[in-house]
Subunit: 197 residues, 2 copies
């Protein structure tokens, strides 16, 4: 029974690390998760982690992508712009509900410079941007005659993402009421106002 000095490498090692990261995230939450802690839990050293991910936020995002069961969003055609938006927000809320409180806020805080809602909330590989999700809805709405034009300004198209992020930051729950309110009080009025690009 000699000690095996087997070394994990590549994908095997990476999977072990991400598993450890995921466990730590569940156990201690984002704030108290440390790179060194994950390394120790994965029975390796932080040097190895830093070779793969530049910081805690990116490590956790990788773990979320692998184990978080984050669906890639589908822009479903529900027949109305309001329905489409409600559906999208509902899907977002479902994802958020799976995250420990503070996880998203922590990641956001650490990544304030390079916000990318898609990469943050979708699978890393399918990274939708907010615009990619919203624009098709607007196109359909314009085709239906619900809104005057689908050619809206950048700031308007990305507004749903802004509202969503703000809601999360405000540590409020993303309740159904909040979703409805954002859509009826803000988004629909803006989209319908038809201020064109």
């Amino acid at each position: 029974m000699a000690e095996k000095k087997k070394r994990r490498r590549g994908a095997e090692l990476e999977a072990a690390i991400l598993t450890a990261a995921w466990d730590q995230l569940q156990a201690k939450g984002y704030r108290d998760l440390t790179i060194e802690g994950v390394a120790a839990a994965a029975a390796t050293t932080k040097t190895v982690l830093y070779r793969r991910w530049p910081d805690k936020a990116r490590l956790v995002i990788a773990a979320l992508s692998k184990f978080g069961e984050m669906p890639s969003y589908q822009g479903v055609d529900t027949g109305s712009l309001r329905g489409d938006l409600l559906d999208l927000f509902g899907q977002m809320a479902a994802v958020l509900a799976k995250l420990r409180t503070g996880t998203l806020r922590g990641i956001l805080a650490d990544r304030l410079d390079k916000l990318d809602l898609g990469q943050l909330m979708g699978k890393a590989n399918t990274s939708h941007t907010v615009k990619e999700l919203i624009q098709p809805m607007l196109d359909r709405a314009a085709a239906r005659g619900e809104i005057a034009s689908a050619d809206l300004p950048e700031r308007v198209v990305t507004l749903p993402g802004v509202l969503l992020i703000n809601e999360v930051i405000g540590q409020r729950q993303l309740t159904v009421d909040a979703q409805v309110a954002m859509i009826d009080e803000i988004l629909l009025p803006v989209f319908r106002s038809g201020t064109v690009k």
Copy 2:
């Protein structure tokens, strides 16, 4: 020529620390400013700083309040809602222009949990909340008949602050174009839509 063991205390000491913090902020920027560095620059120790401010963000906010020449915002009656908003945004932009790039973003990142635009952007003592700034404008607009009701939902009233913060986070400059766009494309349509609380 005996060494004087004079100790600064209270306000005198505090002023010296905040001066040092302000200098460091100018010299190194928010990210590279450290509590220990400020303590050293002020010829004291971090123990003293921690007795007064709980973290870097709060220390810097205190320094900004003292030396940043941040005006407390005035809700000027320009005669129209659009004018009022433009005026407010213009004042905000002027304040932001005085800050080194990244300062506000850094503070935001460190304080994501307790966002308070007023305390952040106004003098600490006059801490306006967004609502306190916007509501009077809405009241006047309703009186003029520009909007149907001034009794708008919380989320709508605080929307200007959200847009502003988002603009800052996006490391974009708060240009006049951006101000106009936010107001014409988003805020006025929402306020005018008259969705009541």
